[in-house]
Amino acid sequence: MTNLDQFKQTYFDESAELLGVAEAGLLRLAPGQVDDDEVNAVFRAVHSIKGGAGAFGFTELVAFAHEFEAVMELVRSVRIPITTDLVDTLIRANDVLAQLVAYARDDGKPPDEFSAPVVEALRRFNVEDDDEADSAAERAPADPTPSNDTEGPETGLVDGTAGTSAQAAGRGAGGLVPVVTTPDQQTYTIVFIPKPDLLLSGNDPVFLMRALSRLGTIAVTCETGLVPPFAHLEPEHLFLSWRVRLTTDAAVAEIEDVFEFVSDESSLEITTEVASGDTDSSIDMVSDADASLKADSVEAAAASATVSATGTVATADRRRASGGDGGLAVHTIRVDLDKIDRLVNMVGEMVITQAMVAEHVRDLPPGSFQDLQEGLEQLAQHTRELRESVMSIRAQPVGSVFARMPRLVRELAGDTHKEVDLEMSGEATEVDKTVIENLVDPLTHMIRNSIDHGIESPEDRRRVGKSTRGTVHLSAQHRSGRIVIEVADDGRGIDRERVLAKAVQRGLIPSGSGLSDEEIDNLIFQPGFSTADKVTNISGRGVGMDVVRRNITNLGGRISVFSAPGKGSRFVLSLPLTLAVLDGMVISVGAERFVLPLTNIVESLRPRHNDLHSLVNRCDVMMARGRYVRLVYLHQLFGIPGAVLDPTEALVVLVEAENGERTGLVVDEVLGQQQVVIKSLEANFRRLDGVAAATILGDGRVALILDVAGVQDMNRRSSSGRARLLAAPPVSPIQTVEV
């Protein structure tokens, strides 16, 4: 029973993936744009879900998937035209399928007639070609026969191993060099793709090819497609790759041995050729190939050519070959998230312990215990690497969130009667899973906002001389240890007059407060602010952007908006890459120690008297590198007794928030840089202003990790009334209901 449950779980996991694949494929489907691969992928996904459902006896799921599949079959065989209506129906069908899977997973029964409307819609497409579909179904089983027929001669050829060069040549096997096979021999296709820096490690593909030629007869094709134009050629880089057909009686392991020393610097794929009967005994040709290869690389080097080494050596994996159709090598495994979290926790503990040992060793008399010190340094490095590897397990490409957006844009564009294109870039940018999970809602909100408020109607766009199709650009990139996600549109930009009027009308700001453009733009993050004149089901309930900001803040992130009237708006999210560890600077104020994220620190300095100035509203500023920065006395802000009060006796750490705002934090001392494990303060307590999280230092004591932007906000609020309005609303502390 438990076994079955396990299989079911796997089935549901897989179904979730397949549904995603199907949706992505369907979304790319459009009249006139039919990619066979996409269609096939969708068909296979639906088919697999149906197959699994059958095995577990989810009859309703099977029945529905069958209807879905039938229409997909028609699409696949190009017997019905792709229309927008059809694509919409298929997308709806995919939704229903997803819901049915969910019902099956939760042991629930879908309501009666749950899928009926969509089934009917599907049948509309199916009925049109009912007869044909039937005949297709009849034809389908017959299909393999002809293909078998065509394969027939080939198989015969191999079986007989009697293929003569004449025959082989006659069959014109696309430039492949035929090789004679004897019954014990096997032909492998080796695809060897070296990384560009292969040559730097002193390896030379020529030697590898020579070694291969000693194993049997080889035919080498060199792929030069990746060699860049001369101007971009990097002399020491290898841009070539090789495809080798090797006929040998050697085992796969022997072939792999040849590549043993380059395995880190290349990708190697060895496959067994079963059906191919390309045979020739021309060893001459092989050596020719070898020679020309040599010539190639020599030439390349001489001509300071980039030798691009895409050397793919294909090893025939016998196990794989014998494994039947489950032939795909397994490169990924499913791991329970809990297990990874446990690992992450343990690494966290290790980082702390390591810091603790380091602290003790630092207290030893200098010069003594040299070995211990060195060992410890190594340990520190290993710990860092271990941490990074573990974190990378949790890292996922942000594309998994982005992938949901085309659908959203499509629907919103339809609902608002606007024409919108979604462009995406940086989908491969990786970020911690927790961050990913929490990104969906804010991104959805932001895109809604862009389409609903930003992009104009086609008529309006034409009137101002823009193309009728608006564009929303969604991008992600890594920037100084954080992930920065942007949602930019080319719409009308923020209408500052309206925003201002609205804010005054709602009592968010007093009228006549002379706000800067930037300050006005930021009003949209105020709770209860909404400029939509009518409440639509898309946005306009005034719970949009302030919720976005709150979500992002809770993740330790920031959001800012840049807008140019008539040209568009750009929302920029900046988030930590991981919620687990950060590089920080430990500082002290009074008896307390705090950690400042290293990414926020510009420099630290001790101001002289004439660097300091006092402004009228009791706000001190300091001249640092030709710029005035506001000083924030941490002891004042946090009410810490016993701190150094005079800035010229203390230290000023110049910090910069993600939005570029610089502040001088007045602290007692800077104690040193350290990697710290982020611990939640909220798990057992709650969020605090100016505090991002907490950590445990080497001596086992807790230190708070400062939230630089939060500290700046606090300072603004405490020093200026007007600023109070613009500062981030005090985020209502996350309160958990006590059980």
């Binding site: 446990r342 307590f685 202003d689 907490a694 807790v702 609020r717 309160q735």
Partner: protein
């Protein structure tokens, strides 16, 4: 958190509390701080008792995870004085509340003899700073009297589950859930914001 829960011998405590609440029976009532119904089934329960000043308080043993010695805390900014700060409990950060300060008796001058009672409320772990642990008492429900409506000494009656009077002593049974709901709930939020 995971590792902690799994490696803590007293982890079952949490389940115990939840089970009690879910059961909704006699134990559930007690867990919610309802006064015992005189004449109800005489279920016996255990309480850990401790002292603050001259007063003796009790907490249901099922919510107590461990008793530990005092370790120096790290202060949290801009919070009322009864939020003593946070400490590291085997890799998990827990807040420590000063019971004396909570009830208006001023901050406790901590010595080596002071202890922290680590309690588990739902998913959350918290520490209460008290003067000393005194006892574990087994009390049947009918021995616990409902708290009087009036303020008892310096404690508001809503934080009490009841009073237990033994041969030569009186133990005030604290309703830890409510006590902490008040400490971390909206009331405190206001105070904290004012502090800013």
């Amino acid at each position: 958190m995971n590792s902690l829960v799994s490696s803590t011998p007293m982890a079952p405590v949490q389940t115990g509390v939840q089970a009690g609440v879910q059961a909704g029976g006699a134990r559930g009532d007690a867990a919610r701080g309802e006064p015992a119904v005189p004449g109800g089934p005489a279920t016996e329960e255990q309480y850990v008792t401790f002292t603050v000043g001259d007063e003796e308080y009790g907490i249901k043993i099922l919510s107590v995870r461990e008793i530990r010695g005092w370790t120096p805390e790290s202060r949290l900014p801009n919070l009322p004085d009864f939020v003593r700060g946070v400490v590291n409990l085997r890799g998990v950060i827990i807040p420590i509340f000063d019971l004396r300060a909570r009830f208006g008796g001023g901050a406790t001058e901590v010595t080596k003899r002071h202890v922290v009672v680590v309690i588990q409320i739902g998913e959350r772990t918290r520490g209460i700073l008290v003067d000393a642990i005194s006892d574990i008492v087994t009390v049947s429900r009918d021995q616990i009297q409902p708290p009087p409506d009036v303020e008892t000494g310096m404690i508001n009656a809503q934080y009490l589950s009841g009073l237990y009077t033994g041969a030569d002593r009186m133990v005030t049974i604290l309703n830890v859930e409510r006590l902490f709901a008040a400490v971390t709930g909206d009331v405190e939020t206001e105070e904290a914001t004012i502090g800013v």
